[in-house]
Amino acid sequence: MSAEFDQKIHTTLSDANLQLAIYTATGRLKEKRVESVAPGVLPDYQELRAQAHAIKKHSIENLDHYLEEFERNVEARGGKVVYCKDGTEVADFVLGLAKERGARLIVKSKSMTTEEVDLNERLEHHGLEPVETDLGEYIVQLAHERPYHIVAPALHKTRYDVAEIFTRRLHVANEIVIEKQTAIARSVLRQKFLAADIGISGANFLVADSGAVVIVENEGNARLTTTAPKVHITVAGIEKVIPRAQDLATFLKLLARSATGQLLSVYTSLLAGPRRPGEIDGPDEFYVVLLDNGRTKLLPDRSKRQSLYCIRCGACLNACPVYRKIGGHSFPWVYSGPIGAIITPQFMGVAHEPSLPFASSLCGACGEVCPVKIDIPKILLELRSDVKKSETREKQNRLERLAFRVFAWLMTHPRLYELAGRMGAGMAPADGGSWIRNLPSPMNIGPVRAWLSQRDLPPPPAQSFREMWRRR
């Protein structure tokens, strides 16, 4: 375990207030989910999960097809699709567009995908002002932190923390009443919405047959982000595409229930292109950035690729006994909890934090609550196996490196080299046959034997080159 991972876990465990906050919040979300999918409320819950899984599986197995269909339909409706391989390309695109439009202020609605590529930092670095507008994200942005939870980004902040952050960053009077804090954020952000040149949103789904982006939210900030500014940019992972608008009937029933226990989130927006002739409001320009950022690395493995089915509901975080103790910031990347434990090693490589797939009790709760039936425990096991394999490889590499260091040392000391050569030649069998594979017993051991099993040397000559040179 890396010292950083270890230390963050210990900090979280020893903070009693934080422990209570995580435990209460995840407990409440967990309970509400259970109520909303109970057989009396949603009798076909298990069939919906199976259907959602089947659609995601099909979409990923035909990903190029649906991305191209999505792209055609977005462009047919006057929008534009931009493929980006990483965060630099996303930032370059946004910066280029902002420059062309003379834009500086950017309102953003919640997007884990932009967190993944540190888009805000990149834009700020070039003099733009990106403002998060989801209340929790806004608090986290003002505090210069990362979201603590996929669905509840400021889960770790109390009203007193928020009061302190608002006083320090917004220069308002100390305010500890949550309703009033919300009103402060509303009025500050309302001005930003009305002044912003560009709105950047994430996406919950990309619908291929419609060329539409679907965004689910409770506050109305995503609607404002995608309606008020003249330019709307969606940043979404390539895995978000689903075939048909009709599939939303399945996914929407599962997403809000799994995330917060609501039957539907307050606002579900299906956005297809810029405003059309006659429509009174809405953006004039509509862009969809399709981000790879490592996702294609997950595709070849048939089992592990189901990590890409994730709809980011956060249910596995709330159900996980490990997340509920160590919290969101202990995890080494933006994605936390069980889903973070399976996608982080695959996006970043298992060496990034090798102990991550082991930070699980394998109790199976995550797999049970997953609305798209990702077999998270199985993938954790597969990743553990990957970690072990890479460690073994690493160990073998160490031995090989040691052997070559000895060899290099010998090569740079001519007298010793000559001596060793003579000793070696002395050991050669008289019949001139294969000899190095049959070393005398003290050297003929495990790894040496394995290494030599495929290698041999020609029989040594009667005289070495050095001897011939001296006697010339």
């Binding site: 069939e47 659609i55 099909h58 979409s59 197995e61 035909n62 990903l63 190029d64 097809h65 649906y66 493929y83 391989k85 507008t133 209340l135 929790g136 902040k157 928020v162 949550i178 919300t182 954020a185 919405f193 009305l194 619908v207 419609s210 060329g211 539409a212 409770n218 506050e219 109305g220 900030n221 609607r223 404002l224 309606t227 390539i238 048909r244 608008a245 009709q246 599939d247 939303l248 009937a249 399945t250 929407l252 039957l263 539907l264 989130s265 307050v266 606002y267 579900t268 927006s269 956005l271 297809a272 292109g273 405003r275 059309r276 429509e279 009174i280 409001d281 809405g282 294609t296 595709l299």
Partner: protein
């Protein structure tokens, strides 16, 4: 451009070639229950009230709206149904706006936004709003209070019926929004606060 590169990587990884047709997707799953209109209306009211919204049925929507907006600044959408009901002629109501900038200004200053809805979903208590010359997006979004007047025949049973009636909403509009209750957040200490960015009050009148 990364486009071709990314598509190529995807195809190599999943074993497909460019232009190859996709296998048939799993059949669409849409189940429409039989629910009579009385039960739909009852469900609308129960769902919306559970979310702290207001909902009622009325044969006189104009009188109800008049009482709700008395002394307030209101903006109404261009939905023909609202003018048929006489709502756009009520004192204090601005309507007939077709300019984006003007609409923004009026909505930002209004106390109440009045719209109709293209559909409603009984099992979740949702309004379905399609952006059009008749319905602007901001009227149901910027003012702190939203009143929707919906003819009862537009109440569908739920999502499955909506996506049966509108298999591809993008053909009709650039923006379809489902509104289920007042704007809300629980981002600070899981305490529920209404009206964070969108309207904190929602009233649905079913005619």
């Amino acid at each position: 451009m990364s486009r071709d590169n990314i598509l190529h990587r995807i195809r190599t990884a999943i074993g497909r070639s460019a232009g190859q047709a996709a296998a048939d997707p799993p059949p669409v799953r849409l189940r429409i229950p039989e629910v009579d209109m009385e039960s739909r209306i009852a469900s609308m009211i129960a769902r919306i009230e559970a979310l702290a919204g207001k909902a009622c049925r009325s044969a006189e929507p104009c009188a109800l709206v008049a009482a709700a907006i008395a002394g307030k600044k209101a903006v109404a959408s261009n939905a023909p149904y609202l003018s048929e009901c006489g709502i756009t002629a009520l004192p204090g109501v601005r309507s007939g706006i077709t300019d984006r900038d003007e609409l923004r200004e009026v909505c930002a200053a209004a106390d109440v936004g009045i719209t109709s809805a293209d559909y409603a979903l009984a099992d979740t208590g949702s309004l379905v709003m399609l952006s059009s010359p008749q319905e602007a997006r901001l009227i149901s979004l910027l003012p702190p209070s939203h009143i929707a007047v919906v003819p009862r025949e537009r109440i569908l049973t739920g999502l499955d019926e909506l996506f049966t009636v509108l298999p591809n909403p993008a053909v009709r509009t650039s923006s379809m929004v489902l509104i289920t209750g007042p704007s809300r957040t629980a981002d600070i200490e899981q305490i529920l606060v209404r009206g964070v960015h969108g309207p904190g009050q929602i009233t649905v009148i079913m005619v």
